[in-house]
Subunit: 337 residues, 2 copies
């Protein structure tokens, strides 16, 4: 399979994307070609730092512009046609690669994918499906921030798409789909969730009703549906709290030599849970609903996070879910309402 | 001061409210009378378990009904006039007590307070102000779930009210007010936050713009404004993740004797941070915007959480913020728009 990586996207570009590409080529033999998209000289210099150079499996696609994190999304996609992000999506559109990974501007990636690749039939808004940790494994948060204002039918489509992702990519046979709300009773919620609830009940998925913030990390549902505003805030709050908690524990431990000795003995426990709660482990969020495979990595992605995003891209190419999504949405909209 | 406590509200009523009342009477000499509202026989029996009985400082106000967690809020307030929750709010209305604390149904407490006490002049919707931990102290989340669908002017009022709470109750001289959103740039947000942003800019508060989920626990703002749907999900997600992280660490430690020995040496560090991230330590959320002092404790409040909610009620009675809120909202609406 062939994958394009936006070499200029994210807070630590090109260093982190290029380092992740070098690692991924070693780890994933199924990648026949990895295309680094960005300024050729800059990318070459960065590759040289790893003793690497363009070759049969590692190409550079030259792009002169960069979309920054503060650029307005739709504007940037229209104006910066030769940006690394746009060119990387173009490669998917042209069929030159099977998937694209970018840690760049989320809005711009969603806009570029929607404008260039178009949505799948039956999809009005794409949604970012972000894997998150639970006690027993992984659950999916959807939409993690692709579109901030959602309609009830968008949440319905997220439910159907997330269910397919969970089944075919995460390997959960009958994924439980929950609607993120402020109480488990059907009557609890805002205007949006109350209108989406009956739609999800009728959908050909295993809808288990509302789930609360309390249940998320205890595995209350396999797929948790919400609008992109709520999803993005939930995602960032959770990531930040997990990091902050470990930082606070570390500071407390370092304030006392006895505690430091104890922590050394117990460090295996910390490492396991720190890894479990570390967003970098879960890789990128797959943009569900567009006609192509686009993976969004965190703007501040580490090399490890980008490496895992490339893994998510490989899995998504292997287990093509788009045909299944088209089928599910067709049967969902055909069902009596 | 006199405080009413809903003895039948919350998942562990009457046991936890009654135990908290007994503790609070010992700890807070400023409470001249604590009124336990609920079934007299039940409350008396519960008091007897603590070797306590009604006395000059500890009254029982008999109420025959109980509003459950699943009751519809407005309906319950209308139908269950002799419920412990309604009667406790009635006591505030009649001036028999200075404040009320309840761990009961959030919607019902908000409805009872709004219907019986009325909103302050200039306030259209009350908001729950919930104290949360940060690196250096405490910040305020507002609205933590009083009303799920907010308008831009509601967020403006939350900003003004939260600023006054932070200054006069938390003791922060110039509280930084942030608007919870999906990016720090003014252009980032949903329809609601984009419309609220310019209103907050013009308000007589120290508005610092948008804040993201990432910054919350690092002290990005002293007051974080959002609608009650987003606030409730943020609150519950954070509480649950903090608890879950410690549970996971504990399980990992207990899987190995060497780790257990180490954890024993380092336990002071855990205890400090576990306490810091424990919602029970922060007490209840003050319902800002109603003409009276109402404190909402968590439905699943421990005795310690209810004890801290009584502490919040005492602080709120001492530092009356309602006159300051009325003044601030009058000057805010009088400012040129």
């Amino acid at each position: 399979m062939k994958i394009a990586l936006d070499a200029m996207g994210g807070d630590y570009a090109p260093a982190h994307p290029v380092a992740a590409a070098v690692r991924a080529l070693e780890a994933f033999p199924q990648i026949s070609r990895l295309v680094l998209v960005g300024d050729e000289d800059v990318v070459k210099r960065e590759l040289a730092r790893h003793g690497a150079a363009p070759c049969e499996r590692l190409h550079i696609f030259h792009a002169t512009q960069v979309i920054t994190m503060t650029d307005s999304a739709v504007d940037a996609v229209r104006r910066k046609k030769d940006s690394s992000l746009c060119r990387a999506v173009d490669l998917v559109k042209e069929g030159a690669v099977d998937a694209v990974v970018s840690a760049g501007n989320t809005g711009a990636l969603v806009a570029a994918a929607t404008i260039k690749l178009r949505n799948l039939p039956g999809v009005d808004r794409a949604g970012l499906a972000c894997p998150m940790p639970s006690r027993s494994g992984v659950w999916l948060l959807l939409d993690a921030g692709a579109s901030v204002d959602a309609r009830p039918d968008h949440l319905l489509a997220y439910g159907c798409m997330g269910s397919i992702y969970a089944r075919h990519i995460l390997g959960i046979p009958e994924p439980r789909v929950g609607l993120l709300s402020v109480g488990t009773e059907e009557s609890k919620g805002n205007e949006l969730t109350k209108a989406a609830f009956p739609l999800l009940q009728k959908a050909p998925i295993r809808f288990i009703g509302n789930v609360e913030g309390h249940g998320l990390f205890e595995g209350a549902a396999d797929v948790v549906i919400c609008d992109g505003f709520v999803g993005n805030i939930t995602l960032k709050t959770a990531e930040s709290l997990a990091k902050t908690t470990f930082k606070w524990i570390k500071e407390e431990i370092q304030s006392n030599p006895l505690r430091m000795a104890g922590a050394l003995l117990a460090r295996g426990a910390f490492q396991t849970i720190k890894k479990k709660t570390n967003a970098d482990e879960y890789g990128g969020a797959l943009l569900l609903g567009v006609n192509g495979i686009c993976v969004k990595a965190h703007g501040s992605s580490s090399v490890h996070a980008l490496f895992n995003s490339l893994r998510v891209a490989c899995e998504s190419v292997t287990r093509q879910v788009n045909p299944l999504i088209i089928e599910a949405l067709a049967s969902s909209s055909a069902s009596p309402s």
